[in-house]
Symmetry: C2
C-alpha cells in the first residue's frame, strides 16, 4: 500500500486516540470530533485498511487499532541512536510516544566528556568516539540528529561513514550525504508556518 | 495565494539555503541538489512567487529571498509563549531557527517553583500562575505546549481561558479546545513514520 504523508499522519493520530480508548467501539464521528476533521475523511481512511469490521455502533476499537498497527508497521522494531545529548536530545530520549510505535532509542552520543556515562530514561550517553563501533556492532540504521547547526554536517559525515542509513535531522542545517543515506529534515519552522499561514481548522 | 503544506515546507527549505548563501545568483539545480529533489519542482515553486527575475546564471539570490519572505509572511512578527520549561521547552527556547522567520518567543512558563526566575536564552521562566495575566497584557496569541502528556489537557484549558488562539502542541495528547482556538499537533512520531514507511529520496 502506498500511503500519502497526510494519510500516515492521520492514521497516527487515530492510533493515539485508540491507545487511550476504553470503550469497545469507536465511531468515525467520535474520532472526527476529537481531531476536528470531517467524519467522512475518517471513514475514507479506515476503509483503506484491512480487516476492520463496521457495525451500527461504530468500529471495533481493538480491530481498528491492530489494523493501523499493521499498516504503519508499528510492530516492527526500529532501533535508533540519538546524536547530541543536549536539551533536544534529552527531551527526545524521554519522549514517551516513540515506544508505542516501535521506535526504540538504544543510546545517546555526545562530544562533551562530562555527559558520557550519564543515563537518560534508561539510555546511556556515550562519547561520540564510540559511535562508529557501536553502530556497526548493533547494526543500527537510524540516527536522530540533535546537535547544534555548526556541527551538523561533520556529524552527518561521521554517521554516513559509520553505516547509518537514515538521518532524522532536527538541526536547521541542510545536510549533504552520500546517495545511500536518506535524510528527513524535521523542518520545525516549516511546520509552524504551515499552521499560521493556512488558518485551517 | 493559497499554498499547500508541501509548498510551504519546500519554500522554508529554500529560504534556509538562502540564509547562508553568499553568491549573487542561485540556480534551481543548486537548490535541487542540496535538497535531493527535482530541479523542475524547484522551478515550478519559484515561478509562483512574485518579483523573482531569472537569467542565464540563475535567480538573483537576494530577490528570491525577499520574495519568499513576503510569501511566507516572515516579516510579520509572531509572538509566542512556551508553556513547559522542561528539556523540550528549553530546547525550543534555545532553537536558533525561529527568529529568522519572525517567530519570537517572549517567555516560558512552568509549574515548578524552582524554575521560576531562570533565564533561558534571554527569556524568563514565569510561574504558570502568571500566564493569564501576561497573555492578556502582552496580547500573545500563540502558545507552544511542551508539558508532559498528563498535564496537556488542563494546561490547554488554561491557555484557552487566557485568550490564546493558537496552540502548537508538542505533547502526544489529542487536545479538546473551544472552537475559536486552533491546535497544530506536532505529530513527531507521524513525521518519523512518513519517513521510514515511504522510503522516498
Amino acid at each position: 500500500m502506498n500511503l500519502s504523508d497526510k494519510v500516515i499522519n492521520r492514521l497516527t493520530l487515530y492510533y493515539s486516540i485508540l491507545l487511550g480508548w476504553r470503550a469497545e467501539n469507536i465511531t468515525s464521528a467520535q474520532i472526527a470530533a476529537l481531531l476536528r476533521i470531517d467524519a467522512s475523511q475518517v471513514r475514507k481512511d479506515i476503509k483503506m485498511l484491512d480487516n476492520v469490521g463496521v457495525c451500527k455502533v461504530g468500529y471495533p476499537a481493538a480491530a481498528l487499532k491492530k489494523s493501523i498497527e499493521q499498516t504503519l508497521g508499528v510492530g516492527k522494531a526500529k532501533e535508533a541512536f540519538i546524536v547530541g545529548a543536549g536539551n533536544l536530545g534529552t527531551a527526545l530520549a524521554k519522549y514517551d510516544n516513540f515506544a508505542p510505535y516501535g521506535l526504540n532509542v538504544l543510546a545517546l552520543f555526545d562530544n562533551d566528556p562530562l555527559k558520557a556515562g550519564r543515563i537518560i530514561n534508561g539510555k546511556e550517553v556515550f562519547d561520540i568516539s564510540r559511535l562508529s563501533d557501536l553502530t556497526r556492532r548493533l547494526k543500527v540504521q537510524i540516527a536522530i540528529l540533535t546537535v547544534p547547526r555548526e556541527f551538523a554536517q561533520s556529524v552527518a559525515d561521521l554517521l554516513a561513514a559509520s553505516g547509518i542509513k537514515y538521518i532524522w535531522n532536527f538541526s536547521p542545517s541542510i545536510l549533504q550525504v552520500p546517495d545511500d543515506v536518506r535524510v528527513w529534515n524535521e523542518n520545525l519552522v516549516g511546520n509552524f508556518l504551515q499552521f499560521t499561514i493556512n488558518h485551517k481548522d
